[in-house]
Symmetry: C2
């Protein structure tokens, strides 16, 4: 992590963090190098935590996550794909998180609440501008959740694909990579780009809607209102239809198609071939646009990756600019379904990481009072 | 400009810059505000300069540009669209710049050389990886130019669309905008994204090749080797063919088509309609991907903008996600053909701006010797 702080400022800050119990200082081994070893500072996961929530198309989740990524408790419940009101979802999230939240609600170590949602989110206030797969438009998720949870800590909301990408960069398949494109898909297709460890968010936080890149302008109508978006070729309904299954079969139907393709079923294999080709076509464009060193495939694409990896590589060879092509590797995500929740926790820790001293001040004034 | 320096460090640095004559300090008026007015620091354009060069498909240019963007001298010559060797082009650039360069070659105020080229460039060493419209592949433009110019200053090379975007952000249509997409087109279509004043460069500097986003995968073969890239729908040859003109008519033929469309000629108007529609389709995807607050159209798109602005807006309304759509404005570039040269100068000043003190040190040791 680059902080822009001098070494002595960092030492002072670590001292404060240790005194507060937020991190532990562990002497590192000398590793055969000369000079006094630098201490290794490990976050104490029990003393700084975030409540992380997720609203996706198939499930709701709540977790308490320690600073550093340790999950202390997590619960996930399936939800029907029906369009539920904001009030219903907020009510469910409150119920889901209550057992974990109640013991720490007033605790100063609870630094914040992070929320991932399958929609286009205005980051400044957590307004969900558009979430076609939830049936939402301009729903004030952040504000409503803050009130309903009864917490005074900040509630930060972001798109769940963005948070999945953030988590893969901090804790998963993309640790240390300088330019990462994260592509995730279930019903919808979303994405996130991390450049030097910072997410590309755009003017208002809406960036990364790569599922709505037009790849086939005379193609199928998309849930967003346009035609031929990438999502209409590689999203769950497209794959299921091509495989001759009901388009609304959901996650279980996709699992069945994957198994059938492995067993050599023709329609299922054709659907995988189509998916590999169109994943490759869209990725070629995105590789040309972003020049990433790594592409991480998440969601259903992670599960399908072994079946389509070869086809994707072949299409990239054919369609991406050679200079960018030769730099990039396509890998499956490492965190599975937990990515967005871990990313939501990272989001909640961000104000603290940006200015740890400010967060320590209240505790110090209490101590000196 | 954000420097990460404290106010007192900045004062010290300005003192050194004034002593060296690189900047002038001018007392600002009080503007009716209380307190001691901050001095306004203006770069002294005569005392820190860059040599800026451009290799595009139709012309070569050389300029001496002062720190702050003042052009002290510039020369541009047309070139045929034939494929010329690296040696020929380097020779031409040396001849073109000699009258301006000779008087300042050994001058410490010449901070560097910046070069814009119509191709995919590895930023680390100025290798032109791929420039289909110049007929180049893996040509060491940066290294060869440094030797041929006989300068010891660094030679930095970048894609000319990237530099046009940088210049529009610093001195043109996008001053102060936080998330800007710059789209420029002649034969090829290129682009650049500036986020918070920093260009998106990708893992090796190849980012921004938006002309090679697949918008019509069963479409025409592209110069890059793929099919149906955006460039095949909105590049110069496509427009000229649609207007019933020879596809290789170049810049003058485009000017004639623009005049014909204004006069109501049917084929020319149909070509403009096609261009507006396909500019809109591609921009819708890029707006969804980047969430920019501003789209700047450069090159031939700047000249065509008045004829297609309405159509672009209509297609964006239809195809871009409403949340991102409502934030974005599409405007023509402000710097015309000079954009890439001004951007090349900015590129040459970058090492100085990143660490002004390091550049001042040699002069100080000379003074104290």
């Amino acid at each position: 992590m680059r902080t822009g702080l001098t070494r002595s400022a960092i030492r002072g800050l670590i001292g404060e963090l240790v005194a507060r119990g937020v991190v532990e200082e562990i002497r590192s081994g000398s590793a055969g190098l000369p000079g006094r070893p630098s201490p290794v500072v490990t976050p104490d996961p029990r003393s700084a935590v975030a409540l992380a929530l997720e609203v996706n198309v198939d499930s709701l989740a709540a977790a308490v996550v320690g600073f550093g990524g340790t999950v202390h408790g997590q619960v996930r419940v399936d939800r029907p794909r029906a369009h539920l009101s904001l009030d219903d979802i907020v009510g469910d999230l409150v119920d889901l998180s209550a057992p974990m939240l109640d013991p720490i609600r007033r605790d100063p170590t609870l630094l914040g609440v992070g929320v991932g949602v399958a929609g286009v989110v205005r980051r400044s206030d957590g307004l969900v501008r558009q979430a076609p797969n939830l049936g939402w438009r301009d729903e004030p998720l952040g504000a409503r959740l803050g009130a309903a949870l009864g917490v005074t800590q900040p509630v930060a909301v972001a798109n769940e694909a963005d948070l999945g990408g953030l988590a893969e960069h901090r804790r998963g398949a993309a640790i240390g990579a300088d330019a990462v494109l994260h592509v995730t898909g279930e019903v919808g297709v979303g994405g996130n780009v991390m450049i030097d460890g910072r997410p590309l968010v755009g003017a208002a936080g809406y960036a990364g809607e790569i599922g709505h890149m037009p790849v086939n302008p005379s193609g199928r109508r998309c849930g967003c209102g346009s035609h031929g978006c990438w999502e209409t070729e590689i999203g769950e309904p497209a794959i299921l239809s091509l495989a001759g299954r009901p388009a609304d079969g959901g996650r279980e139907a996709i699992a069945e198609v994957i198994a059938a393709a492995r067993a050599g079923e023709e329609r299922a294999s054709a659907a995988m071939e189509h998916l590999g080709t169109w994943l490759g076509i869209g990725l070629a464009g995105l590789v040309n646009i972003f020049d990433p060193s790594l592409v991480v495939l998440g969601g259903m694409f992670e599960r399908i990756h072994p079946l389509v990896a070869e086809r994707i590589d072949a299409v990239l060879d054919e369609r991406a600019l050679p200079a960018s092509r030769e730099l990039v590797t396509v890998v499956p995500a490492a965190l599975g379904a937990d990515g967005p929740v871990l990313g939501a926790a990272e989001l909640a820790f961000e104000p603290f990481l940006a200015d740890p001293a400010a967060h320590l001040r209240p505790a110090r004034s209490v101590a000196s009072a």
